[in-house]
Symmetry: C2
Subunit: 78 residues, 2 copies
């Protein structure tokens, strides 16, 4: 089973990487960019019988920092 | 307009970060994880009249390294 985990910063948490990318896009001449937030994406290939609870646990314990980040689990059709 | 850009390594490109995460998950006792690939996620807020070509350009010039990475643009309903 393929699973995608999207990890993004919570609202209100400063995102220096996103700001740097925003400035760089403006420097390259792209107009109309209002905001950029940077996050992480994990593509996991797990056994078909992996429970949702186990996936949640992986995110909470390792993939995301729950203090400043949110995560979203998306199951991808195999 | 909200746009998500998913950047992931091309098949065949070594992914040390993904391997480290894979090992860490095993160390934490999660069984059944077959593979982990790490990527990046960017959430952009751009003007509504931004063309698809401009978005492609942003990815090619800045957000993704086209030699080793693929990108996917996903428009999110506002």
């Amino acid at each position: 089973m393929k699973v995608r985990v999207h990890v993004s910063l919570k609202n209100g948490v400063l995102d220096p990487q996103g700001r740097a990318i925003h400035h760089a896009l403006e420097g390259l001449g792209f107009a109309g960019v209002k905001d950029v937030r940077a996050g992480r994406l994990f593509e996991l290939d797990v056994a078909d019988d992996t429970s949702d609870d186990a996936l949640d646990d992986m995110c909470r314990k390792l993939l995301a920092n729950m203090v400043i980040e949110n995560y979203r689990i998306e199951k991808v059709a195999a």
